[in-house]
Amino acid sequence: MSATPILMAAAVAVPLVAAPLSLHRAWAGAVALAAGVGTTAAAIGLVLAVARDGAVRHALGGWPAPLGIVWNLDGLAAILLATAALVALPVAVFATASLPREHLGREAHRFWPPFLFLWAGLNALFLSGDVFNIYVALELVSLAAVMLVTLEGRAAALAAGLRYLLVAQAGALTYLLGVAFLYARHGTLDVGLLTAAAAVGDMPTTVAAVLMTGGLFAKAALFPLHAWLPPAHGSAPAPASALLSGLVVMAAAYVILRLWFDVFAAVGGAPLRQGLGALGAAGVIWGSLLALSQRRLKAVIAYSTTAQMGYLLLAIPLAAPAADWSADPWAGAIMLAVAHAFAKAAMFLATGLIIQATGQDRIGSMRGVARRMPVTAYAIGVAGLTLMGLPPSGGFAAKWLLLRAAWSDGQWWWVLVLLGGGLLAAAYVFRIIGPAFSHSKARKRQPPRPLEWIALGMAAASLLMGLAAMPLVAVLARSGGGA
């Protein structure tokens, strides 16, 4: 039991220490990979610790809740730490080989500092049980994300990065104003204590809920504040896009779920929750339609991120206040986020390989991929299963849980959204996959074989999620209320 705090500290400290060290050109790759392995080991250790002993709350600096900051390692945090590790490490291995071949060339070592800052920020965010500490961790994550977007220094990437930075700043400050309202009203910043205090649900608390959620909408690129995401994720190099779409967007969405599960459980009546669900549904539909209308490969996948994130919001109107994380709607939302992280990362890595091989980003470049680069084509296909929510993928298991919750709760309209979203996803996935099986004479530069297998492995992980749904829900059950 006493080792858990050290593991938690290591999960944050290892990437933080490695980040400045990776500034050194020669060591960068080695330091990053070593730190990656270390952090992944810590994350796996934490998942096992939670599965064995249940949730662990650790007061930083030895100061208990109201005064100090408390790390709240529950089932949800452990799963997200493991997801971040199991997505980031393969992406790091992929980047080591693929970035020198891309636009960055000799400057590929510039990928490592933002990569490590991002990973550290994510781990600090998932562990944190303090709303102001979440703000600082989110700032570190957003800063690292903008660095990843503007890595190649081209005009389009710089414009997208600037737009992303401004929206992230606006979102962070709106979130912070909400935190200020909570502190002024309840005098504490700890999520557990706020859960009890915010039950009164008066005007300042409701205003805080709307402000914080609005700020996080901007950071998670949820409809209607999603405009910055496609150019940003589209113009980043492939491994960076995989991290951005897989983990960064999920992190901000996680905070929304954490807030609406704990702090704002009793705040704002049904209309506010239905409104949030409606925004999520609108995001699903609108994002999928935009994904259908794109010509560039990366843009289609980036819009698909906006669409898939919309599903997470469906958990808010469906969840009964007293439920814990393993209840259907919450477990469905978390599982979808995790499966989407793997699937989206796999898709961006695969498209990165295709763009490298064919030299251009249009959907037309997919022609003949199935014959020349079969492993990459299958990676995209398998990842597509999760996006469409077809059995036996993780996406299917998640949507099934959400469907079951919606049906048993009598809110049938969410069922329509889930099915409609699945059909639209099928449309834009097949739009990409279709040309892959046609014949094409275009000469393709064969990417290194192991890179293709990394992409397929990630896609298979999202598939495995579907099969191994039960253990995941069991770990989630270890959370109990945030108290």
Binding site: I6, L140, G153, R185
Partner: protein, 310 residues
């Protein structure tokens, strides 16, 4: 009488913000913004937060203004006149923001009059924190993890600016003093011999005083950064290789996070100072943080070298 002064400062802040945001010419906007940060420092004094007044003056009015003016200078050739507002938004959004203000003020009114803050708890636990200044106690002991992440955000920003260097010009490895300003001016050597030592002395005082009076790592660090930037702008070459500057910028944050880890390994909690060692540990960490904050802010101010004129 006091309400009058505070009212004047509050209204002045809002008026200057409006002027800065809606100024006709960009240079005018930046100049008024500089005034705004100055009055903000005054507002912090009126709110009985001397630490914040120092930080705002040193970081906000100091480093940020240097960066904005430098940005303004380099964008000079691009300065279009008054950029037109988009017609559709001009009508709708102001109404929306007025509604937002109304709702927020209404919620402000609902807040309990008696503050329910954590002040009493902080003062109760103050003597175990190892320092007398309550703000420093919160920053480095009670909520030390916030500060830890914050100094990494600052270091990250400095790294981010360095990564903006165009791809065809790799990060400099070789030796070579870091200078940003024009060639040596006659004042440069006078400056180096007299003003620099005095500034260093004030910075050390601020750092030391941070334990008991307003001051601390951030104020001392940003003062040092301002002094270093002024030195560079006078063409005073800063001896030492860029790698040394990065090592200085990273030493504070890395030491802080390693200390947090070591305390955990040593049987105490994460970031929990061993009993009796709090004062020494905090002072040590603060001095390293001062060096790192100064280095990071200076790297931010020096900013990125421009693309060579093609």
């Amino acid at each position: 009488m006091m309400l009058l002064i505070d009212g004047a400062v509050a209204v002045g802040l809002v008026w200057m913000a409006l002027r800065a945001l809606n100024a006709r010419r960009l240079t005018e906007a930046v100049i008024v913004f500089i005034g705004f940060t100055g009055v903000m420092a005054l507002a912090w004094v009126r709110l009985r937060a001397p630490d914040l007044a120092l930080a705002e003056a040193a970081v906000g009015a100091g480093v940020l203004v240097v960066v904005l003016l430098d940005g303004l200078g380099r964008l000079a050739h691009l300065l279009g006149g008054r950029t037109p507002l988009r017609a559709a938004a001009v009508v709708l959004l102001p109404l929306l923001s007025l509604a937002l203000v109304a709702v927020l003020l209404r919620a402000l009114g609902d807040l309990p009059s008696a503050a329910t803050g954590l002040g009493p708890r902080v003062f109760a636990a103050l003597e175990q924190s190892g320092v007398e200044n309550p703000v420093t106690a919160v920053l480095l002991n009670f909520r030390g993890f916030d500060t830890l992440l914050e100094v990494f955000v600052l270091l990250g920003a400095a790294v981010a600016v360095a990564l903006l260097r165009p791809l065809d010009r790799a990060l400099p490895r070789g030796a070579g003093p870091i200078t940003a300003g024009p060639p040596q001016t006659p004042m440069a050597d006078w400056y180096r011999r007299r003003l620099l030592p005095v500034a260093l002395l004030v910075a050390v005082y601020l750092l030391w005083a941070g334990g008991s009076a307003p001051g601390g790592a951030f104020q001392a660090g940003s003062l040092l950064a301002g002094v270093l930037a002024l030195g560079l702008l006078t063409g005073t070459p800063l001896a030492g290789r860029p790698a040394a500057a990065w090592a200085a910028a990273a030493i504070g944050p890395v030491a802080f996070v390693l200390a947090a880890l070591l305390f955990a390994v040593g049987g105490h909690g994460v970031l929990q100072y061993p009993p009796g060692w709090a004062k020494a540990a905090i002072l040590g960490l603060e001095s390293l943080l001062t060096v790192s904050i100064a280095a990071a802010l200076t790297l931010l101010v020096i900013g990125i070298p421009r693309r060579r004129r093609p």
